[in-house]
Symmetry: C2
Subunit: 255 residues, 2 copies
């Protein structure tokens, strides 16, 4: 099963949400990470213009959201559920960090629908709600201020799910052809030549400066185009020097 | 240097923010993850009641926020900066995923202040702003909907920083003393005895059912208290049976 197909089996269940803005922001969080299935258990206000506003272009997820009267109803048909809670565990289910919970959820999703369950903003999930879930997930926070916003918690978990699904890839980089070994060597010879011509290179210890220059440009991993640019600059400097030699060029000091 | 001390060196820089609510939500995101240093480059509205409201109890971070007129000013005194952008790289800095960028930022923080730089909500960072940073960070998103909210992006990055700092620990679990080997074995013998007495155990193939029961309780890793509870239940069943033997108890079928 593909990572995207597994994400399709994840229900994000928000219980007893009091602020409709959080429902909208959660919908947006789901959609940015490629999830689609939002379940709302007894939301105080829904639908609501505030939810629509915060959902931005993820309003389709609000329209397809399942509104339930109880968590049991939202979990109907699932094979696995994990409860988000900020409190230390009370009832003995194993407690997982988000990075452990995400791959576990996707592994369980191979067998059917799974759920991530979030509680009310002010008070979190009730003991009875947590008891309907097989695992507890705890997002690590600052012990002096653990007041994670509901939609922010949803964003972290859906981000971890996308990473666990193996589809958290970076955009293809623009193609920059690397310079070949010979091109880089020719550039270094050219640079050394210019440094000699200008008197910048101390003839008593020429290697110190050239080594430093090599170190810099090796680290940068020159591209073909960059070598052309740099050699063009060196040529321009040589041409200028031929027409009007500069006086009083300082000597390099490398320590 | 401790993880918390490294987090203290991370500046979160929000450039050209148009919605003050996002500034407040970003402050809250920082504080939940143990970061404190918010820099605001040319915010459209700040201070603002909307920022205060969304900051919840992280308002102290808004009060200590540095308001700057340019990104260069916000980066003054830093040794390293990473730019968040949703676009593919344009200018050749290496592009990192959040999980790669977070440990790198903390490693660089050993040498001094570092910065995570976020652009305007609608348009992101300008080319000139990106050029002031050594690395680009790209948060993987759904290619069909990559519209991550600014504060949500800040939350993901600060979460990754906390994880990278090695202080993303789970709360100490309540102490549940595990049952000893002998206690578990005594329970299994007791259970088998009850299963025989009730006729639930098929005497022709007794091992099938006992193996199944062993598998279940081994997986659950019984605690001392749970063994006591279970044996209490078995005793109660035995006592009831002695006073009023149940008729017609079905035999177990295990396939």
């Amino acid at each position: 099963m593909s990572g995207a197909a597994l994400l399709d089996r994840v229900r994000v269940v928000l219980c007893d949400t009091t602020h409709p803005g959080n429902i909208g922001a959660a919908a947006r969080a789901l959609k940015t990470m490629g999830l689609e299935r939002l379940y709302l258990v007894a939301p105080r206000y829904f639908p609501d213009p505030e939810a629509d506003a915060r959902a931005s272009n993820a309003r389709d997820l609000l329209e397809s959201a399942q509104v339930c009267t109880s968590l049991a109803q939202a979990l109907d048909g699932t094979v696995f559920a994990a409860a988000l809670t900020a409190r230390s565990r009370e009832l003995g289910q194993p407690t997982l960090a988000p990075r452990e919970a995400a791959p576990l959820l996707l592994a369980e999703a191979a067998a059917g629908d799974v759920a991530l369950v979030f509680g009310r903003e002010s008070s979190g999930l009730t003991r009875e709600q947590v008891n309907l879930c097989q695992r507890i997930v705890h997002i690590p926070t600052n012990p002096d201020y653990s007041s994670l916003n509901l939609a922010a918690a949803v964003q972290i978990m859906t981000y971890e799910l996308r990473m666990a699904a193996g589809i958290g890839t970076l955009p293809a980089p623009e193609v920059h052809e690397p310079a070949s070994f010979e091109e880089v060597e020719a550039f270094h010879l050219h640079l050394e030549q210019v440094m000699r011509e200008t008197g910048f290179l101390d003839p008593r210890k020429p290697r110190r400066l050239t080594q430093r220059m090599r170190r810099l440009f090796t680290r940068a991993r020159l591209e073909k185009e960059e070598v052309s640019l740099l050699r063009g600059l060196l040529k321009a400097m040589q041409a200028q020097r031929e027409t009007a030699p500069a006086a009083g060029v300082g000597r390099a000091t490398v320590d």
